[in-house]
């Protein structure tokens, strides 16, 4: 009887938090930046991907997908940062959402 009445159901206020922890690894924003190099060459950096992800594997996949070179850089403050050659901002945004590594609203694209 009490089950049918919504107000009488017991409600776990932490249900969301518990659920959120295990099915969504990525928290916080992923900053995608672009930097100009010499000439019309550019670099794309991806900062803020969760440390639970294997960045090496990600970079390997990205390199293959975007046909560019890339590397993982250890930074004392920002942790591991992906660095890809060329302007891969669009590509990386689409790829991260497509693979489900990050949600579109977690991506923040900087630069021009």
């Amino acid at each position: 009887m009490s089950g049918s009445i919504q107000n009488l159901n017991t409600f776990d206020p932490f249900a969301d938090a518990i659920k959120g922890a295990d099915d969504d690894v990525q928290d916080g924003l992923v900053h995608i930046r672009i930097q100009q190099r010499n000439g019309r060459k550019t670099l794309t950096t991806v900062q803020g991907l969760s440390a639970d992800y294997d960045l090496k594997k990600i970079v390997r996949a990205c390199k293959k997908e975007f046909a560019c070179n890339g590397t993982v850089i250890e930074h004392p403050e920002y942790g591991e940062v992906l660095q890809l050659q060329g302007d891969q901002r669009e590509n990386i945004c689409q790829w991260l959402t497509k693979t489900g590594l990050a949600k579109p609203d977690q991506l923040k694209v900087h630069g021009f």
């Binding site: 900053h31 930046r33 672009i34 930097q35 100009q36 190099r37 010499n38 019309r40 670099l43 950096t45 900062q47 850089i73 930074h75 920002y78 940062v81 660095q83 900087h110 630069g111 021009f112």
Partner: protein, 324 residues
Amino acid sequence: MAEDDSIFDPSAMKKKKKKKKTGFDIDAALGDGGNEASETTESSQTGGDKENQEPSKFDDFDGDLDLDSKKKKKKKKTLNLDELESALPDAGSGGGGAPGDGEGGDDFDDTFDLDMDFSKAKKKKKKQKANLEELVAEDDSKKTEDKDTVGEDESLSWLGSDRDYTYDELLTRVFDIMRDKNPDMVAGKKQKFIMRPPQVVRIGTKKTSFANFEEICKTLHRLPKHLLDFLLAELGTSGSVDGNHQLIIKGRFQQKQIENVLRRYIKEYVTCHTCRSPETILQKDTRLFFLQCETCGSRCSVASIKSGFQAVTGKRAAIRAKTA
């Protein structure tokens, strides 16, 4: 991009639309009234013009409405007549001639008052019907109608008579009063947030000059330092303001690109996040920046400017030489 555009002239378009809508709604509503009255007349229309002379015959309500429409017609005569002539065959195209209507209107008024009223009523109905059906009426006709209907004559048309005022009339009236009392109201016309485009010129091959940097800072009411920090962080380069108050940025940038970044700056640090008004103050409060809106009084914190991770793009040997 569309969003950004709207930010540049915050809500100007929306407001316009809204305004138009009120005018339009009123019109449509009047049309409703007119329609009810007109159904009777329309049916009679085939029979002849006699009936419309005494619309109050039918019943009180109809009579009232008809009176109303007549009044309106008289007041608006100049425009309506013209429209009528051109628009009777096709309701949509009626927007046409505001200029040439004066003489014809008067003539008709004096001589064929009743007839004219009737035909006008007909036309009105038609028009309104068209409007109701299409809901997306032609801009021209809408504009002209708006001009007429939003005026006081509409809202005050019941002042002389002892009939009941309709909801829409009251609505127009209250909006008119509101607009009169505070011209720069939110619902009223709002001045567009107009900015000059940034003047971006290349200096040599490796540097870019942002010539009206100082001016843009002034129009945004922001400290040059803050905008400078943001620009450099976003673009991931270095730069400085030179003696002529122009910003020299390292790297090649086009005006379009700088505009994009400026748009983002305005969205984040200039327009109020609640009401989108550009009249805001940026205050620093215990290491955090707060955006205080002058219009709606809201206050919210904004993200701090961080340049984040910067990859090494220069010559490593040079860096090593510098540090060592």
